[in-house]
Protein backbone atom coordinates (compact mmCIF):
# COMPACT_ATOMS: atom_id res chain seq x y z
CA UNK A 1 0.00 0.00 0.00
CA UNK A 2 1.58 3.19 -1.09
CA UNK A 3 1.76 6.35 0.94
CA UNK A 4 -0.76 8.34 -1.05
CA UNK A 5 -3.42 5.70 -0.50
CA UNK A 6 -2.84 5.79 3.25
CA UNK A 7 -3.15 9.59 3.23
CA UNK A 8 -6.41 9.42 1.27
CA UNK A 9 -7.81 6.81 3.67
CA UNK A 10 -6.96 8.96 6.69
CA UNK A 11 -8.60 12.02 5.14
CA UNK A 12 -11.73 10.02 4.30
CA UNK A 13 -11.96 8.59 7.84
CA UNK A 14 -11.58 12.04 9.40
CA UNK A 15 -14.29 13.47 7.13
CA UNK A 16 -16.68 10.66 8.08
CA UNK A 17 -16.00 11.18 11.80
CA UNK A 18 -16.41 14.94 11.51
CA UNK A 19 -19.69 14.69 9.63
CA UNK A 20 -21.00 12.24 12.24
CA UNK A 21 -20.14 14.68 15.04
CA UNK A 22 -21.85 17.55 13.20
CA UNK A 23 -24.94 15.40 12.75
CA UNK A 24 -25.03 14.42 16.43
CA UNK A 25 -24.63 18.06 17.52
CA UNK A 26 -27.52 19.16 15.34
CA UNK A 27 -29.78 16.37 16.59
CA UNK A 28 -29.03 17.60 20.10
CA UNK A 29 -29.81 21.16 19.05
CA UNK A 30 -33.18 20.13 17.68
CA UNK A 31 -34.32 17.60 20.27
CA UNK A 32 -33.14 18.74 23.72
CA UNK A 33 -35.60 20.64 25.91
CA UNK A 34 -34.01 23.98 26.86
CA UNK A 35 -31.24 26.33 25.86
CA UNK A 36 -28.69 25.05 28.40
CA UNK A 37 -29.08 21.44 27.23
CA UNK A 38 -28.90 22.50 23.61
CA UNK A 39 -25.70 24.39 24.25
CA UNK A 40 -24.31 21.39 26.11
CA UNK A 41 -24.93 19.27 23.03
CA UNK A 42 -23.74 21.66 20.36
CA UNK A 43 -20.72 23.37 21.83
CA UNK A 44 -18.83 20.10 22.24
CA UNK A 45 -20.02 18.00 19.32
CA UNK A 46 -19.85 20.77 16.74
CA UNK A 47 -16.39 21.81 17.89
CA UNK A 48 -15.14 18.24 17.61
CA UNK A 49 -16.74 17.83 14.17
CA UNK A 50 -15.24 21.00 12.73
CA UNK A 51 -11.87 20.22 14.33
CA UNK A 52 -11.91 16.76 12.78
CA UNK A 53 -12.61 18.23 9.35
CA UNK A 54 -9.83 20.78 9.87
CA UNK A 55 -7.54 17.86 10.72
CA UNK A 56 -8.60 16.20 7.47
CA UNK A 57 -7.56 19.40 5.69
CA UNK A 58 -4.22 19.28 7.48
CA UNK A 59 -3.60 15.72 6.30
CA UNK A 60 -4.79 16.45 2.77
CA UNK A 61 -2.73 19.60 2.18
CA UNK A 62 0.46 18.28 3.82
CA UNK A 63 2.42 20.30 6.37
CA UNK A 64 2.81 23.31 4.12
CA UNK A 65 1.09 26.68 4.29
CA UNK A 66 -2.55 25.57 4.06
CA UNK A 67 -2.07 22.58 6.33
CA UNK A 68 -0.54 24.73 9.03
CA UNK A 69 -3.40 27.22 8.84
CA UNK A 70 -5.72 24.26 9.39
CA UNK A 71 -3.89 23.61 12.66
CA UNK A 72 -4.34 27.27 13.58
CA UNK A 73 -8.06 26.80 12.90
CA UNK A 74 -8.22 23.85 15.30
CA UNK A 75 -6.55 25.84 18.08
CA UNK A 76 -8.86 28.80 17.41
CA UNK A 77 -11.99 26.63 17.56
CA UNK A 78 -10.91 25.00 20.81
CA UNK A 79 -10.30 28.43 22.38
CA UNK A 80 -13.37 30.28 21.13
CA UNK A 81 -16.20 27.72 21.20
CA UNK A 82 -16.26 27.31 25.03
CA UNK A 83 -15.91 31.08 25.43
CA UNK A 84 -18.88 31.73 23.17
CA UNK A 85 -21.00 29.07 24.87
CA UNK A 86 -20.14 30.55 28.26
CA UNK A 87 -21.17 34.03 27.11
CA UNK A 88 -24.48 32.77 25.74
CA UNK A 89 -25.36 30.78 28.87
CA UNK A 90 -24.42 33.72 31.11
CA UNK A 91 -26.66 36.06 29.17
CA UNK A 92 -29.44 33.42 29.14
CA UNK A 93 -29.29 33.21 32.92
CA UNK A 94 -29.30 37.00 33.27
CA UNK A 95 -32.31 37.17 30.95
CA UNK A 96 -34.10 34.71 33.24
CA UNK A 97 -34.45 31.79 30.83
CA UNK A 98 -35.90 28.86 32.76
CA UNK A 99 -34.97 25.20 32.57
CA UNK A 100 -37.21 23.12 30.34
CA UNK A 101 -38.09 20.32 32.72
CA UNK A 102 -38.87 22.38 35.80
CA UNK A 103 -35.53 22.34 37.59
CA UNK A 104 -34.46 25.40 39.51
CA UNK A 105 -31.18 27.18 39.93
CA UNK A 106 -29.66 26.38 43.33
CA UNK A 107 -31.01 29.23 45.41
CA UNK A 108 -28.67 31.20 47.58
CA UNK A 109 -31.04 31.52 50.54
CA UNK A 110 -31.78 27.80 50.71
CA UNK A 111 -28.31 26.79 51.88
CA UNK A 112 -28.19 29.14 54.86
CA UNK A 113 -24.88 29.99 56.42
CA UNK A 114 -21.50 30.06 54.69
CA UNK A 115 -23.18 31.50 51.62
CA UNK A 116 -21.39 34.81 51.74
CA UNK A 117 -18.93 33.86 49.05
CA UNK A 118 -21.60 32.42 46.76
CA UNK A 119 -23.00 35.87 46.06
CA UNK A 120 -20.02 37.09 44.12
CA UNK A 121 -20.49 36.23 40.48
Amino acid sequence: MELHTIQTAIVAALIVVGSAFLLVGTIGLLRLPDVYNRMHATSKATTLGAASIFLAGFVHFDAQAEGLSSLVGIVFLFVTAPTGAHMISRSARKMGVEFGLGEQWPSRSADDGTSEDADTE
Binding site: T5, I15, L29, T46, F54, A92, V97
Partner: protein
Protein backbone atom coordinates in the same frame (compact mmCIF):
# COMPACT_ATOMS: atom_id res chain seq x y z
CA UNK B 1 -9.66 0.31 -13.87
CA UNK B 2 -6.70 0.47 -11.56
CA UNK B 3 -6.73 0.48 -7.78
CA UNK B 4 -5.60 4.12 -7.58
CA UNK B 5 -8.45 5.45 -9.71
CA UNK B 6 -10.99 3.39 -7.77
CA UNK B 7 -9.63 4.86 -4.54
CA UNK B 8 -9.90 8.36 -5.93
CA UNK B 9 -13.50 7.80 -7.05
CA UNK B 10 -14.41 6.51 -3.58
CA UNK B 11 -12.65 9.49 -2.00
CA UNK B 12 -14.64 11.91 -4.16
CA UNK B 13 -17.85 10.22 -3.07
CA UNK B 14 -16.89 10.47 0.60
CA UNK B 15 -16.02 14.18 0.35
CA UNK B 16 -19.26 14.88 -1.50
CA UNK B 17 -21.18 12.93 1.14
CA UNK B 18 -19.53 14.96 3.90
CA UNK B 19 -20.51 18.17 2.11
CA UNK B 20 -24.09 16.95 1.75
CA UNK B 21 -24.34 15.97 5.43
CA UNK B 22 -22.91 19.32 6.55
CA UNK B 23 -25.25 21.29 4.31
CA UNK B 24 -28.29 19.27 5.44
CA UNK B 25 -27.35 19.75 9.08
CA UNK B 26 -26.98 23.49 8.55
CA UNK B 27 -30.43 23.57 6.99
CA UNK B 28 -31.86 21.69 9.98
CA UNK B 29 -30.29 24.21 12.36
CA UNK B 30 -32.30 26.96 10.68
CA UNK B 31 -35.39 25.35 12.26
CA UNK B 32 -34.09 26.31 15.68
CA UNK B 33 -33.29 29.83 14.51
CA UNK B 34 -36.84 30.35 13.26
CA UNK B 35 -38.72 28.41 15.93
CA UNK B 36 -36.48 28.78 19.00
CA UNK B 37 -38.54 30.03 21.95
CA UNK B 38 -35.98 32.44 23.41
CA UNK B 39 -33.28 34.68 22.02
CA UNK B 40 -30.36 32.57 23.39
CA UNK B 41 -31.76 29.57 21.50
CA UNK B 42 -31.46 31.50 18.29
CA UNK B 43 -27.94 32.64 19.18
CA UNK B 44 -26.88 29.05 19.87
CA UNK B 45 -28.35 27.93 16.55
CA UNK B 46 -26.57 30.73 14.69
CA UNK B 47 -23.33 29.72 16.38
CA UNK B 48 -23.85 26.13 15.21
CA UNK B 49 -24.57 27.37 11.69
CA UNK B 50 -21.35 29.40 11.62
CA UNK B 51 -19.31 26.41 12.78
CA UNK B 52 -20.98 24.24 10.13
CA UNK B 53 -20.17 26.79 7.45
CA UNK B 54 -16.52 26.65 8.55
CA UNK B 55 -16.63 22.86 8.10
CA UNK B 56 -18.24 23.30 4.68
CA UNK B 57 -15.49 25.71 3.62
CA UNK B 58 -12.75 23.26 4.61
CA UNK B 59 -14.57 20.37 2.90
CA UNK B 60 -14.90 22.43 -0.27
CA UNK B 61 -11.19 23.24 -0.08
CA UNK B 62 -10.47 19.50 0.06
CA UNK B 63 -12.89 18.72 -2.76
CA UNK B 64 -11.65 21.38 -5.16
CA UNK B 65 -8.02 20.92 -4.02
CA UNK B 66 -7.58 24.67 -3.53
CA UNK B 67 -5.76 25.16 -0.25
CA UNK B 68 -6.45 28.88 -0.06
CA UNK B 69 -10.09 28.14 0.83
CA UNK B 70 -8.96 26.92 4.26
CA UNK B 71 -8.21 30.55 5.09
CA UNK B 72 -11.84 31.34 4.23
CA UNK B 73 -12.90 28.89 6.93
CA UNK B 74 -10.51 30.51 9.38
CA UNK B 75 -11.90 34.00 8.75
CA UNK B 76 -15.47 32.69 9.00
CA UNK B 77 -14.63 31.14 12.39
CA UNK B 78 -13.31 34.49 13.64
CA UNK B 79 -16.40 36.36 12.39
CA UNK B 80 -18.71 33.76 13.97
CA UNK B 81 -17.02 34.06 17.35
CA UNK B 82 -17.10 37.86 17.31
CA UNK B 83 -20.77 37.96 16.33
CA UNK B 84 -21.70 35.42 19.02
CA UNK B 85 -19.98 37.45 21.73
CA UNK B 86 -21.48 40.67 20.41
CA UNK B 87 -25.04 39.32 20.41
CA UNK B 88 -24.58 37.73 23.84
CA UNK B 89 -23.54 41.11 25.21
CA UNK B 90 -26.25 42.96 23.35
CA UNK B 91 -29.17 40.97 24.71
CA UNK B 92 -28.27 41.63 28.35
CA UNK B 93 -26.71 45.10 28.29
CA UNK B 94 -28.40 46.81 25.35
CA UNK B 95 -25.20 48.06 23.81
CA UNK B 96 -21.99 46.41 22.67
CA UNK B 97 -19.35 49.11 23.03
CA UNK B 98 -19.99 51.63 25.75
Amino acid sequence: MTVASETSVLFDWIVTGGLLVSAFVTLLSAYRVIRGPTVPDRVVALDVISTNVVAIAVLFAIQSDKGALVEVGLVLAIIGFISTVAVARYVIEGDIIE
